[in-house]
């Protein structure tokens, strides 16, 4: 299960809309229990409507922050601009960590559809998203 606030959900969707026509993306800082503490938007350095890549500088900075603040990088979000909120074969093949949460934001429908998955040895499982009304934060890169 992934726990996030409405504001964090809105940040992910807004990041993806701002990135149009390219895919938008970012990282999720949080706890090992799947609670998102901060959404960290990233530039899509692939600059593509079909693929994304997190900015390596954002990646390093976010991992360092996680260690310094006792948090973890627990996942990644990105958009599919013209297809559903489900991991593509590319997403599955390149999933970097079996413990991560993979959030997909589909902009092919309105309002945007946001879903979260685990990807373990190429097996995709959708997980529940619990919307918490707390005060977890987000940042803009």
């Amino acid at each position: 299960m992934l726990t996030l606030t409405l504001a964090q959900r809105d940040t992910m969707v807004a990041t993806c809309i701002r990135a149009l026509p390219d895919e938008g993306c970012g990282l999720l800082l949080g706890t090992s229990h799947g609670v998102v503490v901060e959404v960290v938007p990233s530039a899509n350095v692939a600059a593509s409507a079909r693929v994304y890549e997190i900015d390596p500088k954002v990646l390093l900075r976010t991992f360092r922050r996680a260690d310094e603040e006792g948090l973890q990088v627990i996942g990644v979000f990105h958009s599919h601009t013209h297809s559903g909120a489900y991991p593509s074969p590319t997403d599955i093949r390149q999933a970097p960590d079996p413990d991560w949460h993979y959030v997909l934001v589909s902009l092919a429908v309105a309002p945007a559809d946001l879903r979260s998955y685990s990807v373990v040895e190429s097996e995709v499982t959708e997980e529940v998203i619990d919307i918490d009304e707390g005060t977890n934060s987000c940042t803009d890169d």
């Binding site: 895919e23 693929v51 997190i54 500088k57 390093l60 991992f63 310094e68 590319t90 999933a95």
Partner: protein
């Protein structure tokens, strides 16, 4: 030069005269479960070659057959991405901190 002397808290204690390699979570099972290891080599290519000799299971995740960096691996020397420092030829000195992070990429295609 100052940045070479900075010790980030998350690296923990280390030998100040050896370069240190920080290992990402996903590679730790194949690298003895270590978070950091001391490494040898005066270039990134030499460092990673020594690492793959010590941990053969990760060779395909670090280097291509031709010795270049794997496409889905980010390598940093202190704060700098080695792609902008010469790739496998990027220099390494004893006080450097090398960080490996898997590229985070994908997409609808």
């Amino acid at each position: 030069m100052l940045t070479r002397l900075v010790r980030y808290s998350f690296f923990g204690e280390r030998d100040p005269m050896s370069a240190v390699l920080r290992i990402p979570t996903v590679l730790r099972p194949a690298m003895g479960g270590e978070t950091t290891i001391t490494v040898e080599g005066t270039t990134i290519g030499a460092v990673l070659s020594h690492v793959t000799e010590r941990f053969p299971a990760v060779k395909g995740q670090l280097l291509n057959e031709d010795g270049t960096l794997h496409r889905f691996l980010n390598v940093y020397v202190n704060d700098d991405d080695v792609r902008y420092l010469g790739g496998v030829d990027a220099p390494v000195v004893d006080t450097d901190e090398i960080t490996l992070l898997p590229a985070v990429a994908g997409g609808a295609w």
